[in-house]
Amino acid sequence: MTEMYIREGDFAPFVDAMIAATRVIGPVGKRKKFVYEPLESSSDLRLDFDVTVLPPKKVFFPPAQELVRFDGDLVEGCIAPIDTVLFGVHFYDVKGIDMTDFLFRERNADYNYLAQREATTIVASNIQAISPRAFWDSVGPEVEPEGHDAFLTKLDGGYVLETRTPRGETLIAYGAFRDATPEEVQAAADVNASVMGRCPERLAHSSNAIAEKVRDSFGDEKLWRELANGCFSCGSCNTVCPTCYCFDVKDTWNLDQTSGQRTRYWDSCLTREFAAVTMAGGGTENFREHHSARFRHRFMRKTTYLNEKLGGPACTGCGRCAQACTVDIADPVKVITTIMEVTS
């Protein structure tokens, strides 16, 4: 598509014009961390963020999402997309969105996710700060981010906006853009190249080698018990993961006791009851009884089960799980490196 340039001084009016026209969600500061929230003003936008607490998947797949509403015998679906610009997404989170797009679309298209996804324009942005547990430059390098409509790169004195889709192209109308010069386009490419190789953690093996070795480790109960040692089964690693998309579904009544809703909630395969089936007499049959089996399942899913479908691991290297884990055992780099070093 096109490469455009906007001067630093024209950037805030551009963002404010977008906010005036549509819902814009972007990274904002919250205490010492960052979160994606609807922007009220360009002054709230923090493109210098390192990583957000929750990934942007929450825009399309909220922690609680109504699926169906009922009132007596009347039952209705609840799909109500809102036109949105999701602004300032790091490339590893674009990869995460690409993966959830695929997974919600494959075989049975889930429009409770896809409708909002299709109503959303995504503007990716360059990485200005690197989070302390990130390893995105060494995980799944063969997976190219695709789902964004434009890519914004900050230069000294201004920004280059590369539009990737007609939808991204429409954003130009909100700001005082001009065509970028070849030098400015090259400078943007240099900025984006310069962050690679600077993550504090890294994987030293290819995705295929990791997939194979981790798969082979499945039967090594002792290894997985050691890796999962201390796991509280709290599910924090699932909650902050950009590619985790498991959910539970629950019905709730309104106060009138005749109407209510069926809602899906984020769920976590690390929790004890996730794979449990209720049996007669009130007991349960749990297909992953021990926390090490659940911990292993998550890593199998990230590194092997989904690779073929996704063209690489279901991990973006954001490092959120490592940061969120209370006992610091969820770090994929630590787990994978340990497995890769096991020779037997």
């Binding site: 997974l103 629950k250 209720t278 049959e285």
Partner: protein
């Protein structure tokens, strides 16, 4: 009803259930209820034996249930629900004329093409008789498409044996070899006593028999051991697995076994396809 959401538009939700009217309900045991259902509006419910559906009561939720009748029969369909949790309890409070909310049919049923033209053995343990009843009726209705048909049915005790009328029909049928057992007999019981594998001694099975197994998880291993000793190829063994199939459409992750989703890749699998998958059996 006023609803702030905009409805489905052109994109249909996977989670919107359809209303099904209970034409007949009865309670064959202390914990099971047998429903005959019909979609409201009269639309025929098309499905294959072995497929599941999500069945629910709005306000309580939904659970995966195997269809217990054959699509060859009528425009109605049947399910049997065991009272085990909150949703099944809510379903089992419903009776004639009430509604249930259903989604489906979902998943893969029994591979009829693989069974057709061959001897078939069905091994049903406990409530596993319900989804297999769909296949049993199908075979009974198209008996000339299949060779020898042997049916093993086992339950904990005589009071747990479902479908007394069907069992009478199966027992009397000249082209069905029906064998049943109970783990624990009562004073009136004159039949076989012992776990379901004790029935293997009562008949001879050919090595090219196609086998369908459905029952409690503990049963599979022992039945497959018997089948191995007969020399039955594992590609010809079909297992109907139970998992927490919460969404039924391959998304929520609860029923995942390695890289398979029980709800859409199963619940019926050729055993050869899942025997190497840890956590499957």
């Amino acid at each position: 009803m006023s609803c702030s959401c905009s409805g489905n538009g052109s994109n249909e939700s996977l989670f919107l259930p359809r209303e099904a009217r209970i034409l007949h309900a009865h309670q064959p045991t202390a914990t099971e209820k047998h429903f005959t259902l019909q979609l409201v509006g009269g639309e025929r419910f098309e499905f294959q034996p072995g497929q599941i559906m999500e069945v629910g009561v709005m306000g309580y939720g939904e659970i995966p249930i195997g269809l217990a009748s054959s699509p060859t029969r009528t425009d109605t369909f049947e399910i049997v629900v065991r009272t085990v949790g909150r949703v099944s309890t809510a379903i089992n409070t419903k009776g004639n004329g009430d509604s249930l909310w259903v989604r489906g049919p979902l998943g893969h049923g029994f591979d009829l093409d693989a069974l057709r033209g061959h001897d078939v053995l069905v091994v049903a343990g406990g409530i596993g008789i319900c989804p297999t009843r769909s296949l049993i009726q199908y075979i009974a209705d198209r008996r000339d498409e299949f060779e020898r048909f042997v049916l093993f049915y086992g339950a904990r005790d005589p009071l747990q044996l479902l479908f007394p009328e069907d069992r009478g029909v199966w027992r009397a049928a000249h082209d069905i070899e029906y064998h049943e057992t109970v783990d624990r007999a009562d004073v009136a019981w004159t039949g076989n006593v012992g776990v379901i594998t004790t029935l293997f001694k009562t008949t001879h099975l050919a090595a090219d028999t196609r086998v369908v197994i459905c029952g409690p998880p503990v049963m599979f291993e022992f039945v497959i051991r018997e089948l191995d000793s007969i020399g039955i190829n594992r590609e010809n063994i079909f297992v109907d697995l139970e998992r927490r199939m919460k969404c039924g459409v391959g998304k929520c992750g609860h029923c995942q076994i390695n890289d398979k989703y029980c709800c859409i890749d199963g619940p019926v699998f050729p055993f050869s396809e899942i025997q190497a998958l840890e956590e499957a059996i």
